[in-house]
Symmetry: C2
């Protein structure tokens, strides 16, 4: 039987990779309480410094999957394909993408999380719809996939429980920002949910978790390799997150914008990312269909409405609105907006009540920020750039503080150069050398 201190030494001193038997023993012993949280915390910090090899990571992720149940989607008649985003500001893509792809004939089992920090969570957004509930049993989930082709729900406690425990531990021990640990956390849940294919949206830039594009690319490659090794057809798009996606940031505000986009009236950047992801999802699912046609025909919106209804929501009910609205960031000169910092806007929305600081906190449905102007727009001196929404006017000052930094807004004498949102696409072929290494 391995002893945990020796395993910690191996990772600390980077003497050799851990063996499959050692990793399997570690997770079994951790679940049994024979390895204590403080020992796992020290090991995670050593992994933060030295990483995990491709083989270690495959086994590590496999052990997290094996810690719980896995969903069996093989009985579905439609091909299953899912999407995951590492999170950004104004990132309501899932709300549009999931019903859109389902309306083209795929089954989209979106097991989502809640937001933490300045990036919102898809479940928090949907919960601003009157009556909508996030939790479904596994049977309800399968039924919704059969009937509507899409479900957005909270991941059940039975899927990869080791990840849940490790994530909570990483959160309090300063070991979140590790590529293999992030990759195994995301992929263990996605693989356990039973999807046949997966498209990952790995955000990079000021508003992203991975600010550095090289690290975002590394995370993307790591996750694609992991997915392929576990027989999930996986692709990753690295996309820019320097400014909010679309013009709405906040739960109900984002649902409103998503519904408009499904109705054919969405902002270009939001639709660009959504269509790019949709095309890759459909390709992996083996479906030939046009995402823009799915929107134009009304099929995508119809699927969205059925998706909301089957989880108790009323798609026709008016969304809640904030009691207090205020302008912020007033243009100091005429010119083109060249920068509107995603992180500053995300933190402002968070402080207005849209996000939570601790996972126990409640979020406000109505709080958020509307971007009245974005990079590329021409503004005149005195014109407001942002509109802040909240039910608690004391929060305006906190939001203003977040927007106060020098780099939040820039106005120039020429429009900013057009930069494509999709930085790169990572396919199985790009990581063939890592798979099975």
């Amino acid at each position: 039987m391995p002893d945990v201190v020796s395993l910690i030494h191996v990772k600390r001193d980077n003497t050799r990779p851990l063996t499959d038997a050692e990793i399997d023993w570690l997770f079994t012993a951790y679940a049994a309480g024979e390895v204590a949280d403080e020992q796992m915390a020290a090991l995670l910090m050593a992994i933060y410094f030295h990483g995990l090899s491709a083989a270690e990571l495959r086994t590590w992720t496999g052990a997290m999957i094996a810690s719980g149940e896995t969903l069996d989607l093989s009985q579905l008649t439609r091909p299953s394909v899912d999407k995951h985003s590492t999170g950004g500001v104004g990132d309501k893509v899932s709300l549009i993408l999931a019903p859109l792809v389902a309306s083209c004939g795929a089954a989209v089992p979106q097991l989502s999380g809640r937001g933490l920090g300045h990036t919102g969570g898809t479940l928090d957004k949907l919960e601003s719809i009157p009556g909508w509930r996030a939790s479904l049993s596994n049977d309800e989930l399968i039924r919704a996939l059969d009937e509507v082709g899409v479900v957005i729900t909270a991941a059940g406690a039975g899927l990869a429980p080791a990840d849940r425990r490790l994530y909570a531990l990483r959160d309090v021990t300063g070991t979140v920002e590790s590529i293999p640990l992030i990759a195994s956390s995301i992929m263990s849940k996605k693989i356990a949910e039973g999807t046949s294919a997966l498209v990952l949206d790995v955000k990079t830039g000021s508003g992203a978790f991975m600010k550095d594009p090289d690290r975002a690319g590394q995370l993307a490659r790591t996750m694609v390799a992991l997915g392929e090794e576990h027989h999930v057809r996986t692709r990753a798009l690295v996309t820019r997150m320097d400014t909010p996606l679309g013009r709405a940031v906040g739960n109900a505000l984002e649902v409103e914008e998503a519904v408009k986009a499904l109705a054919g009236d969405g902002p270009d950047d939001l639709l660009d990312v959504t269509f790019a992801l949709a095309e890759h999802m459909l390709e992996l699912a083996g479906i030939t269909a046009s995402p823009s046609e799915a929107i134009a025909s009304g099929r995508a919106l119809d699927t969205y409405r059925r998706m909301i209804r089957i989880q108790g929501g009323d798609p026709d009910a008016p969304l809640p609105t904030a009691r207090h609205v205020q302008h912020a960031l007033i243009a100091a000169e005429d010119g083109w907006v060249t920068r509107l910092d995603a992180l500053a806007v995300g933190v402002a929305a968070w402080r207005l009540g849209a996000g939570r600081a601790r996972k126990e906190d409640a979020v406000s449905s109505v709080a958020g920020v509307r971007c009245l102007a974005k990079p590329g727009d021409y503004v005149q001196r005195g014109q407001p750039i942002l509109e802040l929404h909240t039910d608690d006017p004391a929060r305006f000052a906190l939001a203003a503080e977040a927007l106060d930094a020098a780099g939040t807004l820039a106005i120039g004498s020429a429009p900013p150069p057009a930069t494509p949102l999709v930085v790169s696409v990572i396919s199985a072929a790009d990581v063939a050398d890592q798979v099975g290494a």
Copy 2:
């Protein structure tokens, strides 16, 4: 109020030193249960990788001292001076040195620990003397120092309790081998015990905790700087620990050898190290005396006998002996012993019962190893090098396994070159640039 995850990030990313206020808060919050063991474990692992600056280490050590009581030795009429060894195989120096220095007029408050792993503990050795007890109250300790000039006792639970808790945590989380953490652990207890001066024996070589002489030197300098910063006159000797010190390894066997050395009949290497340490201790205490004269006159042995008696021991009682004795390591050729590996002999003694694997384990008084030949001795083919002692004959096989490695014994055609045991001496002047940095 600092938040512990931010402090972990600071050490993990090595962005800046922790402030005094942050370190003080950390120890207060840890004692209050507001910082959890898993958080401290992650921080310790980050410190393992990035170390502590001189200023951080001073504050860290100060916080460990402030976590408990400190002894006041100012009422003693003799100058106080203590010694600490980082631990080696056959290292019974304290048993000779402490009464020797006391017999020259110093007060030696030796608060010692127990052995763990292949190095023995001074208290374990003394407990092989019938009647001797390790635990004294603070009052008994002061009285013994007044009456005899020396006491070897267990450090009370009141001294640096934060160190006790941190050490236990480091032991199970693979974070023992960190120079600043080792230095703060040793020095917090020594400073809290109230000694005015301190000589450190930092062992290096195969049988030492610090196998690498450069790291041993770094630990020595770190501890001397820490002592001087806390107003303890401190000096460190880096000494070689490639082969057992003296010829006896094991509790009662070492007491027997120490008593012989006090009576004038000790092995050269043991006396060399003891006299070197004694000279530095006496110098720091401001006492002019000759250690060899203290032995030759019988004063040192007399002090030893009084030291044993005042703690309930009978210096005239026969020491326990093992029921089973067996030869091991038979010379395969004629020649000079050029190597007898300290670690292999230490592990063999440990497995015979002289040491413990976990701190709850009991040790055997009688178990151990006698070295019949050592490097520099001429041996003939067939001559046994070691004599193994144990009450449990099943352990002979375990000990033999430890001795089985290729590098345990080497016999050559010429005697090994004479290498001085004392590698270097670190004084306050050598670390003047670090003190107060």
